[in-house]
């Protein structure tokens, strides 16, 4: 089973447009035998969206879950700068509507204390947090987490499962930052398919802590899969990365 842990519905501002974009993405994913797609909104790609924007973004993901229940696994996007609304949105999308994870982007850093109630709720619900992270040589944005911020969140919440996004963007140093925290995995989504990084992640973290993702539509399924299929790995390691790890993380929420 192949699971894409990190994908977004598209760039459109209307549900109709997103449905059309996702239909195309689904066609490509199925061609590559990707079985499940974890989809999260980025609320019109704004850094720190207002609560109503967050909700409408998640509504689109809920609609796509309803359209493709056999494929789409929803991740609930929240903005920690609106802590109360974030928790309410998790209740609505995860508890009531069946989303299976939380997505955090670049509204605030993972080291920010406003993250704590979200991380606690995730642990209580036994769902993973997919946290954007990057080491940009020119410096990160104010709300954009570095892997060190992710490590700080992981240390404060050892019971919370965290997927740190963007192996290419975090690089070797990012892997070193999270290595001591077994509750953090790294995803392979985003960035160019830089050779050697998947093998490096497996050496630093072990294959059970590396998870396949694409960051589509900004990245291609082929390029993203090529990282895992092109890496020098044992079959067992490849299977963990492509699906078994995500399946474990999303315990009970994947059938078939």
């Amino acid at each position: 089973m192949i699971i894409d842990i990190h994908a977004h519905p598209g760039y459109s501002h209307s549900l109709k447009g997103l449905r059309e974009e996702f239909r195309v993405a689904l066609g490509v994913a199925q061609q590559h035998e990707v079985d499940r797609i974890c989809l999260s909104s980025l609320a019109n790609w704004e850094d720190s969206p207002e609560p109503d924007r967050v909700r409408s973004g998640n509504d689109a993901v809920l609609a796509l879950m309803a359209d493709h229940p056999e494929v789409v696994i929803g991740f609930c996007y929240v903005n920690p700068r609106h802590p109360q609304e974030a928790l309410e949105e998790i209740e609505r999308c995860v508890v009531e509507e069946g989303m299976a994870g939380i997505k955090l982007w670049q509204a605030s850093r993972a080291s920010d204390r406003r993250m704590d109630p979200i991380a606690e709720r995730a642990a209580a619900l036994k769902i993973p947090i997919l946290q954007h992270a990057s080491y940009k040589t020119g410096g990160n944005g104010t709300g954009e987490s570095t892997p060190a911020d992710v490590a700080s969140l992981a240390a404060r919440h050892p019971q919370t499962m965290i997927v740190m996004a963007h192996l290419t963007g975090v690089g070797e140093r990012g892997l070193a930052d999270i290595a001591p925290y077994p509750n953090v995995c790294v995803d392979t989504a985003g960035g160019q398919p830089e050779a050697g990084l998947v093998e490096l992640a497996v050496r630093r973290l072990g294959a059970r802590r590396v998870i396949f993702g694409t960051d589509t539509p900004s990245r291609s399924y082929g390029a993203a899969l090529g990282k895992v299929l092109g890496a020098k790995l044992m079959v067992r390691q490849r299977n963990l990365i492509l699906g078994a790890n995500a399946r474990r993380l999303l315990a009970g929420r994947i059938t078939g």
Binding site: E21, V24, A25, V28, Q31, H32, S134, K136, T137, G138, G169, G171, E172, G191, Q192, P193, E194, A195, G196, T216, P217, S218, R219, S220, Y221, G222, A223, A224, L225, G226, K227, L229, G230, A231
Partner: protein, 252 residues
Amino acid sequence: MTIDAAAYVGEWPFRALEGTVADLATTMRGNRVRRAVVSPIEGLFYTDPRPANERLLRRLARRRNLWAAPIVSLRMADWREQFATLADKRRVRAARLAPAFHGYRAAQAGEAADLAAELGLTLAVQIRIEDERRHPPFVKMRDVPLEDVVALAAAAPSTRVVASAVRLREMLDSAQHIRQLKNLWLDMSHLDGLCCLKEARDAVGARRLMFSTCWPFFYARSAVLKVAEAEMPAREKDAVMGGNAERAFGLA
């Protein structure tokens, strides 16, 4: 037959790569790539890339399926002689310019384009190697504007020009001009995004696009799968996978 239009060998100072000729041969076998056009990574950094080129040519000597695209710096006073020397070598099909590394603009390469045509060399221009967000702070390098390479090709219609490591956005922005040129090819190693190759093909036409891996920087498999997933007629895929490179580099 699959031809990789842009692979490199050598060392990269900013992270460890497995980039020997033997590694390349293994990668090519694993991805069913039959031939490749190869440039020396060190040549990007040397003031005079000639020693890097000579080393590359020695390493390729017994590899009949590898062609060389040595790097020439137009900042060297003897670049014309370097072109002539390279053109005499059987294994050399192209001269690669890296204006961002050697400190000049692609627009200044007009004479080099004319000389390349005279000598039967293809002129490859490196747009970038790395994502700028990954550049070390002391070398924030500016990408070469694709429009400059397009203008170069337009001004030298008998020169075969290759633009390497072009992004989709750049292709779409320059598509109208690219479509008018029969002597410009684009390598696809840096294309990304859902359906990127299909979009590029719709914009510039399948005859302008060449399969390339940017190995050892990138996993070669990523390039293979980008072509595999593209919704295109088989004959267009064949052209992208090799036919276009045969024409662009005169390999037939």
